[in-house]
């Protein structure tokens, strides 16, 4: 098996994003019953984890849409994605092997 594009994470399709009126949200995995609280920036990123956007593209879009995005945004993005991967909320698309 080969990871199709390491730089393009994809949201676990089973996970529910539950947004509220105020600016918090929760990512809920119905298979484990675990929830993970995310802020508005986290929600912004989550909605772009479709396996087509690179980290650089998402952070660039974030800079375009939000004020006061820090210089270390890409590092913060990578830390956030690493946490989501650790919790099973995000994965990487696997390239299918050709069978004879």
């Amino acid at each position: 098996m080969e990871i199709k594009d390491k730089n393009k994470p994809i949201a676990n399709p089973s996970v529910v994003l539950r947004e509220e009126f105020d600016d918090w949200a929760i990512l809920f995995d119905p298979d484990t019953a675990e929830g993970f609280a995310v802020d508005p920036v986290g929600v912004f990123i989550w909605k772009r984890l479709d396996g087509r956007h690179t980290a650089e593209e998402i952070v660039a879009e974030l800079r375009k849409n939000c004020k006061n995005v820090p210089d270390e945004a890409l590092t913060h993005y990578n830390e956030f994605i690493a946490e989501l991967i650790k919790r099973g909320l995000v994965g990487k698309e696997i390239k299918k092997e050709k069978t004879a």
Partner: protein, 368 residues
């Protein structure tokens, strides 16, 4: 209080049918007893809306939900739409095949089975001949597949003397982690059988004392959100606060005893959305005809119920002159409705002053 965007959970009364006729059943003869069930496809379509609304959990009840031949299909629909689920059942229709299926879903948070006695003679008095044997068989099947089974014991006149045995049977013999209790309340069929079933003040005093002692004996493995054990904790807290000279308990002195409209909605067997399965007379619209999110955010009846906790108990003639007024919550709006005809009224059933005046006792020894 900030309102959630959509309800977090939904209680689904998926059928009006039941294979039993328990004498205190809150469903039959209530506004939820509509005589017909929605077809499968209506529920499945609604589950898709629940998914769009990011609802996290569905609690499946009835009637008896396992009377529905399409029950596994409904569970599949819940899974497909990213929810977890609870089941409330009398336990008598559970089969090995069903228990195996439920275990395979890995999304079941709890299956509550009603057990009212330590043996057939006690359990079957209210729930019908043969129901104990079948319910225990069902319970054992759920345990066989390591499902998260819970038991609800409804306390009434006929099982009061069996509480010690029930605790021993469920916690020691059946090895359940715990069980919850309530009592036969003035709702549904119980209204016709109130004299026969509901606890008189002296019996209620006994039940409170007994359940407090048993809860202590079994390291708090016996719990309650209503009924004698819950009342014992509640009323002892009120009398204790008053004795210590406190003027009030925070957020009390208002109709604050229920969080209706806070994080849940319910649906009747005919698809009518209601605020709570115990308030089935308040109709908020029909599933698949109205938008759940719109009902949740804008329905005037829900807004009215959410404002309950701003209504001071001092507004009610019923509470006037009561020394516990600043310590009280008015308790359950559903019972207030069935007794007084108005959900925005304190529940007379939960009134400490009335209980004491009628000869009820709160025993010092019971205090935690």
């Amino acid at each position: 209080m900030r309102l959630m965007n959509t309800p977090r959970e939904v209680d689904l009364c998926v059928t009006t049918r039941c294979n039993l006729r328990c004498k205190y059943c809150s469903h039959f003869s209530s506004a939820s007893d509509v005589g017909k069930d929605l077809p499968t496809e209506e529920w499945l379509k609604f589950f898709e809306e629940l998914n769009r609304c990011s609802v996290l959990k569905a609690c499946i009840g009835g009637g008896e939900p396992l009377c529905r031949e399409d029950f596994p299909e409904l569970v599949e629909g819940i899974l497909k739409n990213k929810m977890r689920y609870d089941i409330m059942t009398n336990g008598t229709l559970i089969t090995d095949e069903l228990a195996s299926f439920l275990a395979s879903t890995k999304r079941c948070d709890s299956i509550q089975v009603s057990i009212d006695g330590s043996n057939s003679a006690v359990h079957d008095t209210c729930r019908g001949e043969g129901s104990f044997v079948k319910a225990i068989a069902g319970l054992k099947l759920l345990q066989k597949y390591s499902l998260p089974v819970t038991v609800r014991v409804t306390v009434h006149k006929d099982n009061l003397a069996d509480l010690d045995n029930i605790a021993e049977f469920l916690l020691e013999e059946m090895k359940l982690p715990g069980f919850s209790t309530n009592s036969a309340s003035y709702m549904g069929l119980c209204r016709q059988n109130a004299e026969q079933l509901m606890l008189a003040p002296e019996e209620r005093s006994f039940a409170m004392r007994k359940l407090l002692d048993l809860s202590q004996k079994y390291n708090n493995r016996i719990t309650a959100q209503a009924g004698p054990l819950s009342e014992a904790y509640e009323w002892l807290q009120m009398t204790d606060a008053r004795r210590k000279g406190q003027k009030s308990i925070q957020d009390r002195g208002f109709l604050s005893g229920c969080g209706v409209g806070g994080d849940k909605l319910a649906v009747r067997p005919d698809g009518t959305i209601v605020p709570c399965f115990q308030l089935p007379h308040i109709e908020l619209g029909r599933i698949n005809q109205v938008e759940l999110k719109d009902v949740w955010q804008n329905h005037p009846e829900l807004k009215r119920l959410r404002e309950r906790n701003n209504i001071p108990l001092s507004d009610f003639e019923f509470c006037r002159g009561c020394e516990y007024i600043n310590f009280c919550t008015g308790n359950c709006p559903a019972l207030a409705y069935t007794i007084c005809g108005d959900e925005n009224h304190p529940s007379p059933d939960a009134c400490l002053k009335r209980f004491l005046e009628a000869g009820g006792r709160l025993l010092e020894k019971c205090q935690k």
